[in-house]
């Protein structure tokens, strides 16, 4: 019967589709980039390099594994992307995380949030949800009470959905 063959075909075609996704994905994100290029300038446009300079005043920033940055590998939805930053720190008056900065690499304003902590927090932790216009990296810059800076970054895939 035609219907049975049809169902069989779905399985066959789906199996073949496995090797296609990568390029399909790339094509879609390219299209997204073009269609999402803002025609309007945002009120706070600032590229990443400038934002980092403003935060660190040009001081050295090292990658650190004391920072645990948790973001999804693939964003279910670019409008609500969860971001969590945890930093190993005693959070005492002598040694605490002074600030956590959350930045992105492709939005026209690379800044998302600047959090100023105190020992009263007990732990260096911050979590929020951000909007990402396209696949990009989330970067976090951490400032310690001794004036040194650390950083960590992770990539997040943001795609146009298949349906709504």
């Amino acid at each position: 019967m035609e219907r049975r063959n049809f169902i069989k075909n779905i399985m066959a075609v789906s199996a073949v589709a496995v090797t296609v996704p990568n390029s399909l994905l790339a094509e879609e994100t390219e299209k997204a980039k073009v269609s999402k290029a803002p025609a309007v300038k945002g009120p706070n446009d600032m590229p990443l390099a400038d934002a980092i300079k403003a935060i660190t005043d040009g001081k050295e920033v090292k990658e650190s594994d004391k920072i645990k940055l948790t973001v999804p590998e693939i964003a279910e939805n670019g409008a609500v992307v969860p971001v969590k930053v945890e930093v190993e720190s005693p959070m005492t008056e002598e040694d605490y995380v002074k600030s956590i900065h959350i930045l992105n690499t492709k939005n026209s304003n690379s800044r998302c949030a600047d959090i100023m902590l105190t020992p009263a927090n007990g732990k260096a932790y911050f979590s929020t949800r951000v909007k990402l216009a396209e696949t990009q990296e989330i970067v976090t810059i951490v400032e310690l009470s001794d004036g040194t800076f650390m950083k960590a970054g992770k990539s997040i895939k943001v795609t146009i959905g298949g349906c709504g």
Binding site: G42, A113, P119, K123, F126, R129
Partner: protein, 113 residues
């Protein structure tokens, strides 16, 4: 101060003692408009309207300050930790780029050790 915006403060876990470090969650209903999106009906740019400043205080003493940008999601959520020092009140004061000021409070009631 009467709250013009709707928000919630949650403390987790629900039961805690003095000395514990709790999670303080703050969610607020706010458009967080970037100033770059167009109104689908009128075609005009929706002006930027986003929360830009938040202060978390315990019994009047600030313990966390935040500078927030328009890249944060609509109806945003902010979460930090707080070391419990005793009975009191957490207050979250927040303003947006249009100058609107709001405040939300929640009592802190530690259990006996």
């Amino acid at each position: 101060m009467a709250e013009k915006r709707k928000s919630m403060i949650k403390i987790k876990p629900k039961k805690y003692k003095v000395g514990d470090i709790v999670k303080v969650d703050f969610i607020v209903i706010h458009p967080m408009d970037t100033g770059m999106a167009k109104d689908k009906k009128t075609g005009k740019i929706i002006p930027a309207h986003y929360i830009n400043d938040i202060t978390f205080s315990f019994d009047g003493k600030p313990f966390t300050k935040m500078k927030i940008w328009e890249s944060v999601s609509q109806n945003p959520y902010f979460s930090v930790n707080m070391k419990v020092t005793g009975k009191g009140k957490i207050t979250v004061d927040y303003t947006d780029n249009l100058g609107e000021k709001n405040s939300k409070s929640k009592k802190v009631k530690p259990k006996k050790a």
